[in-house]
């Protein structure tokens, strides 16, 4: 097919892979459910799918890949990322691990996280988080409702888990500035996280007439 502007007839399957907004199949089991059967399955898949080779047998991280326990992403984002990762991480195809099995992996990684870790301990206060979100300048790049912009991703609702946020803001990548504990405490971050969780997922573009012009 030769592409001519204004005359193109694209023949072929358009793959909705997402480019930055990955869509995952709805997991049959809600990711993160830590039933004994789920964690056992998750442990097995974590090894058989090759996750442990880079992330360590206990998801503790190695020189090759970051720690995964506790999981740095929210359950649905965890599955979506496994399907369409960035950097050196290879994609995990459905043939290797179904959505259900990835949910089990998530449950396993969550189950082996230390009980006294900050992310397990902290209870966020969304009202205080809203104040901190503005005071600490999060809105400057991510927008007042965390909707994101060209320079920074959407964080409301967050794709990262609280554990992931606590880890990332201390040692971020790209243009995100580092927030040391001296500047923002873990409790502050838990409050901001609770505030970001209050936002619903964005509507689909198809539901907005102005985005279908």
């Amino acid at each position: 097919m030769v592409v001519r502007y204004g005359k193109v007839v694209v023949i072929g399957l358009i793959l909705w892979v997402g480019f930055g907004r990955a869509r995952a199949q709805a997991p049959a089991q809600k990711a993160g459910d830590a039933s004994a059967r789920g964690t056992d399955s998750g442990k097995r898949v974590f090894s058989s799918a090759g996750c442990a080779a880079c992330h360590g047998a206990q998801g503790q991280g190695t020189a090759l890949a970051p720690p995964l326990s506790p999981p740095p992403l929210e359950p649905q984002a965890f599955v979506a990322y496994a399907r369409h990762p960035t950097g050196k991480m290879p994609p995990v195809p459905v043939a290797t691990a179904s959505d259900r099995e990835l949910a089990d992996v998530y449950a396993f990684l969550k189950s082996i996280a230390p009980r006294d870790s900050s992310s397990e301990r902290l209870q966020g206060n969304a009202e205080n988080g809203k104040k901190l979100f503005l005071a600490y300048g999060c809105y400057e790049c991510h927008g007042h409702q965390g909707a994101g912009a060209a320079i920074a991703p959407r964080i409301g609702p967050p794709a990262l888990s609280l554990a992931g946020v606590l880890r990332y803001v201390r040692a971020p990548t790209g243009q995100m500035p580092p927030y040391t504990a001296k500047v923002v405490s873990d409790q502050d971050l838990a409050d901001i996280y609770a505030y970001l969780k209050t936002f619903p997922a964005p509507p689909s573009a198809d539901s907005i007439p102005l985005l279908n012009q």
Partner: protein, 643 residues
């Protein structure tokens, strides 16, 4: 022009003759006119008596009917300037007067500006629409100092602006303190590092030649601003008796096109490539450049990444992969850059926050071709030339002029087999393009109903109103997350004109008005998404738009801050671990809030807002558009998300 018949006496001769009687000349005008001639002759001081009875011949002639500035206007008219933008200044007062009276205030027509930076900024925006320079007059020293940032922006953006600056070169002819303060030995020195050429002619003959030469230099790629000094005596004093002044013939040089062998080699690399990528930035100087880029891309069925210095390639063209640039370049085996300002950044990635660390993003063995007129001319001091780019083939030539030759060379080298491969490649790119566009739409949905209003929502509310018009977006939309470029259907050359070039804030508002001035005669609907901090540099440009009835729809991206700097201060505060609650000191515009609607109204414009509810936006834009369609500018103030 006619010859002067008046006596030519310079001021120094007059003063020498009249010094003794100066005090006596101070007679109240009413008393002098009321006195009968006989009585006046009898009782007048000696000098006045001599003047009346004709015995004093060496007296200052107070009128000049053939000033040098009239001849300057003849020369400038030969260059077909439509407008002259200026803030008035006495170092070019004679030229100013000649333009509006002797020249009839037509071609060029005088556009009153409230700041020299605005005048040059208008010239910057105008040239990118019109494809030719605007004339700008600036006052000696202080006026040029005001203008200098805008000149630098135009220089970095490779845009021609034709600047005439006044001066009082002969100290003996300066009338007082102000003239001295507004004089310089070498007036253009302060901008010499960022104009392509300047001159300081000392005769009208030399002025004429330099004026024509300056235009040719400015408008020949790489196009840039030029500065020409017009001394005050050269303007104000009469054309010398018997002077044989002529306006030199003006012939525009053809732009420099690529060497045939180099173009053939570029074609060979592109035809042989499996995944060539065409990277554009400022290649489409004119509509012909845009058409050529489309033809080249379609001939090769190659992906295009537009850096958007100009409107180089349609945003919804199936071969446009701008929004997936890094991965597209990483997968390529030949990268061809067409007038790319910062080619190095296309080929490399920079990481790190304290110290930059870079790595090449292209695969080993990827061939790189550069076609740019920037290889023909560089200045030393200012570092706008960017990091050195290692390439395999460098064609030192104007991109737009070289494109037709390259297209022909590609067609000559294409085989049926390659054409089949091209077609297959094009189909894959088209599919990927659709995926990219879908991702943009989904991203735009995030925060759709937010208040303050998301920049995506602002952009699409505006697009809904203008898309059926003959529209032209004349503002840089980088600070609005580039939503128009990501979502709108840009097809025509005048629909986007790029950015400031030198990242100098204060460009946006005047360049938009200048572009609107060029669009006016075409009946286009000119639109700008105006950053609040930028407008506050010189808001008097709104009065210029209103006064000269320049139709322009301004939609404010009012994020209430110098937001880029706010983020930078936050980064520093974070790096220094000193807390970030003070980061807004010195970088936000909130207390008191600036009412841009009232600001516009105070300048005689339609203004409404601030609008914080997204559902109020469409009706406000419609009302403002009605004003603009009536021939006037209008402003809608919108409280927005930061980016």
């Amino acid at each position: 022009m006619g010859k002067s018949t008046k006596n030519s006496v310079n001021r120094r001769d007059f003063l020498r003759t009249a010094a003794a009687g100066t005090a006596a000349l101070v007679v109240p005008p009413a008393a002098a006119t009321a006195t009968p001639e006989s009585a006046r002759t009898a009782s007048s001081p000696p000098l006045l008596k001599a003047a009346v009875d004709g015995s004093l011949s060496n007296v200052e002639v107070l009128t000049v009917d053939r000033p040098g500035s009239d001849f300057m206007v003849d020369v400038l008219k030969s260059l077909n300037f439509e407008y002259v933008c200026a803030n008035p200044g006495n170092s070019f007062r004679s030229l100013h007067e000649s333009l509006i009276n002797y020249g009839g205030n037509r071609a060029p027509e005088f556009i009153t500006c409230c700041h020299e930076e605005s005048a040059v900024g208008m010239g910057h925006g105008y040239a990118k629409i019109e494809g030719k320079p605007l004339l700008v007059c600036v006052h000696g020293t202080v006026g040029l100092q005001h203008a200098s940032m805008a000149i630098y922006d135009a220089f970095c953006d490779r845009v021609p602006v034709y600047i005439i600056l006044g001066n009082f070169p002969d100290a003996a002819l300066r009338f007082g303190q102000v003239d001295w303060t507004h004089s310089a030995q070498d007036p253009a020195a302060m901008v010499r590092d960022y104009v392509k050429w300047d001159d300081n002619p000392v005769s009208l003959e030399a002025f004429a030649e330099s004026a024509v030469r300056a235009y040719k230099i400015a408008a020949t790629p790489p196009t840039m601003p030029v500065a020409l000094v017009a001394g005050h005596a050269l303007q104000e004093h009469p054309v010398p008796e018997g002077a044989n002044l002529t306006v030199p013939k003006f012939t525009m040089p053809s732009p420099p096109a690529g060497d045939a062998a180099a173009v053939a080699e570029a074609a060979r690399l592109l035809v042989a490539a499996e995944n060539p990528v065409l990277v554009t930035d400022r290649v489409a100087r004119t509509p012909a450049g845009l058409a050529s880029m489309i033809e080249l891309a379609e001939t090769l069925q190659a992906a295009v990444i537009d850096r958007n210095g100009r409107m180089n390639f349609p945003t919804r063209h199936p071969l446009n992969m701008t929004e997936h640039a890094s991965a597209t370049v990483a997968a390529s085996d030949v990268v061809a850059g067409f007038e790319v300002t910062d080619f190095w950044s296309v080929l490399n990635s920079v990481n790190g926050q304290v110290y930059p660390e870079s790595h090449r993003v292209t695969k080993p063995g990827t061939k790189v071709i550069s076609i740019t007129a920037n290889d023909l001319y560089l200045k030393s001091n200012y570092q706008d030339f960017q990091r050195y780019t290692a390439v395999d083939l460098a064609v030192a030539a104007d991109g737009e002029a070289t494109l037709p030759l390259l297209i022909e060379a590609v067609k000559r080298q294409m085989t049926a087999e390659r054409q089949r491969a091209f077609a297959e490649r094009g189909g894959k790119i088209a599919v990927a393009h659709q995926q990219v566009m879908e991702a943009q739409r989904e991203a735009a949905a995030s925060g759709w109903d937010c208040s303050p209003i998301s920049t995506a929502r602002l952009s699409m509310e505006l697009w809904a109103q203008i898309q059926k018009e003959d529209w032209s977006l004349v503002s840089n939309c980088q600070f609005a997350s580039r939503w128009p470029l990501r979502l709108w259907d840009f097809q025509k050359h005048y629909q986007y004109i790029g950015a400031e070039g030198g990242y100098g804030v204060g460009y946006g508002a005047p360049a938009s008005v200048g572009a609107a001035l060029a669009n006016r005669k075409q009946g286009r609907l000119t639109v700008s998404i105006q950053n609040d901090g930028d407008l506050m540099f010189a808001p008097g440009i709104l009065w210029t738009a209103a006064h000269h009835r320049i139709p322009l729809l301004i939609v404010m991206h009012n994020n209430r801050a110098y937001h880029q700097e706010l983020m930078q201060i936050q980064v520093m505060a974070n790096q220094h671990s000193r807390g970030i609650t003070n980061a807004s000191i010195g970088s936000v515009l909130v207390d008191p809030p600036i009412d841009y609607a009232k600001l516009a109204q105070s300048m005689g414009m339609h203004g409404e807002g601030p609008i914080a509810n997204p559902t109020d936006l469409a009706p406000a834009i419609r009302r403002a558009m009605a004003v603009v369609k009536g021939g006037d500018p209008a402003l809608v103030d919108v409280l927005t998300q930061p980016r």
